[in-house]
Amino acid sequence: MPAGDDYAHLVGFGRELRARGLPVGTGRILNFCRAAGVLAPVDRRSLYWSGRATLISRPEDIELFDNAFGAYFGRSELDETMSSLFDWLDRTHAPAGETTIEGADTGAVAGFAEAEEVAGDTATRMVASGTEMLRDKSFDTLTEEERNHAALLIRHLKLSVPLRTARRLRPSVKARRFDLPRTLRSSLRTQGEPFRRAYRDRRRKIRPLVLVLDVSGSMSAYSRALMQFAFAAISAGQKVEVFCFGTRLTRVTRALRTRDPDAALGEVAATVQDWDGGTRIGESLRGLLDEYGQHVALRRAVVVLCSDGLDRGDPDVLAAQMARLGRLAWRVIWVNPLKGSPLYQPLARGMAAALPHIDVFLPGHNVASLEALGRVLAE
């Protein structure tokens, strides 16, 4: 059995992981010590695997765990087993360096967010008479102050996504299905005569809403507005997932849950690479479908794509991925701000390729059209 000092050493490793940001509670550390006790005498390999089994429970955490293990217990003969792990990580996760971007690019967006914080108070004092005009003004022509006001308007939209029927049944007064168990139970009170007949009906569940936002240079003003839209949906109690893409896909749902939209956008700026690198919608969609295609968030969901459809990738890829998305989602809505212009025709190759797989095609360039989007969602 390990001695007291050894246990202190093991506990120290648990605390090290906690310091590195992993949710390692006392219970997990206790399990780790027990596991090491069971395997005693422990070699590095058993120690490594007992830590893996007890201290973490997500594949994403493996890399962090490996680093911490290497740093804490020293790196040596473990490398052989570890190398196969790194192979796997390389395939599923991009190297850390790739996801950060140059300071110059973030500066623009971060500055934007700061400016808005300063102007925050004035926005709330704006008079209502301007509201009607603002509703019809395109997002990319708004001044800072108007933008804040528009953000408020969007955030106060009442949003709802239609419910879907679930498999489970619940008691209901509407006669849909006869409920024999309940009828029988209540008949026991009346000497076995089923005076009171019970019925049940399908439960209803919230249908998830997935927003996929193009954040490339020309689209950022509109995507910001849709980010506010996502906020409104979250605060209306909807299940919402938000993804951003330029040339790569980033999931920003977590950022949106914890902070305000501006901070969230700042965070997106820090993780999304090359804002002006052009848009690769097809590739990004493939990333989304490969990684989250099996995820409940996407299955039978309402998917809102926001992009101008000016795709630099292969239109065939886009068409194939849109077809996949169409099969997986309950409804696909494409929001294209260019459609706000009466002269617009969906002739861009990407847009034309995607069009057959879209259920609803909307402009979404101003507050009024986002209200329309809200109405479409509720249908």
């Binding site: 058993s46 089994a53 973490i56 196969s84 792990l85 024999l180 409940v296």
Partner: protein, 293 residues
């Protein structure tokens, strides 16, 4: 703690091997720890890496009963724990006259339909409980499961408390279509099952499909490894490798060439778009000159 028929990770791994399951070191350690510490083992990994198989082989090896709870969206306590057989109760009431009706115990054990979790409480350490694809069930079900896993005791108001003497071995699998709740994860040991290395996969095919010759098994394993690196939506698992080897051996193909691969591709690729894609790139999957001459 239940007495285990093995005293080290190596012995356990050896036992699993005898029952045709080839675990790697990490998995064997996790199973050993789960059994020693009486904790549920949560296995995650892509489809077809052999998560469910662990429970089956473990039950076989330990000579225990395998109790399987298959989860699905909307599963609830009556499908997992127990249910009263209402139709039989109704018949019993109808069949008896007024005098004897009072004598029937309508909520006695004979009208109870036992579901997997209650069966596991009854069997206790004589069973391996497999909770399969827990990610498909709803969050509420997870919370309910947490309660059962903590105590392995179920209270049925009409009958009383049924508690396991010693908890059964519990294997939980998840395909990770959603994250399981942290409270549940904290209670479990965790292992992520990865696709096996080439050598191990060849060995697995040889063990599971002994009539497949070694060169063919190797070619298939190599081809599957290449497929996993291609841009396919659904990456083939070990089960597919075995299926594919079996199909080829059944057709009498001595080697994996383009023609044989195309004819049997359905055994390994099961998505239409992937299928078309792979067929177009079949040369990248099959190394025609390998193993010849």
């Amino acid at each position: 703690m239940t007495a285990l028929p093995f005293s080290s990770v190596e012995e356990l791994a050896g036992g699993l091997r005898q029952h045709l399951y080839l675990p790697d070191r990490g998995l064997a350690t996790s199973i050993y720890l789960a059994l020693s510490l009486d904790k549920p083992l949560l296995l995650e990994g892509e489809a077809g890496v052999g998560k469910t198989e662990v429970a089956k082989v473990l039950a076989e090896m330990l000579g225990r009963e395998l109790i399987r709870l298959q989860c699905y969206e909307g599963i609830d306590a009556s499908q997992a724990l127990y249910e009263w057989d209402y139709s039989r109760q109704l018949l019993a009431i109808r069949a008896s006259d007024a005098a004897s009706a009072a004598a029937i115990d309508l909520f006695g054990p004979q009208f109870l339909v036992e579901r997997p979790l209650l069966a596991a409480c009854h069997a206790g350490s004589g069973a391996v409980l497999l909770i399969d694809e827990l990610d498909r069930a709803d969050d509420e079900f997870e919370a309910f499961l947490l309660e059962v896993l903590a105590e392995f005791a179920v209270t049925i108001p009409e009958i009383g408390r049924i508690a396991a003497q010693a908890p059964p071995a519990v294997i939980i699998t998840s395909n990770r279509t959603r994250d399981l709740h942290d409270a549940l994860k904290r209670r479990c040991l965790y292992h992520w099952i990865d696709h096996p290395s080439l050598e191990r996969e060849v060995e697995i095919v040889r063990v599971r499909a002994p009539h497949v010759a070694e060169p063919l098994a190797r070619e298939v394993a190599q081809a599957v490894a290449r497929l996993r690196n291609m841009e396919v939506a659904k990456r083939p698992g070990v089960a597919e490798t075995i299926d594919w080897s079996n199909s080829l051996a059944f057709l009498g193909a001595p080697h994996l060439d383009n023609e044989a691969a195309e004819a049997t591709l359905g055994a390994v690729i099961k998505d239409h778009e992937d299928f078309e894609y792979v067929r177009r790139h079949i040369d990248d999957v099959v190394e025609d000159d390998a193993g010849r001459g």
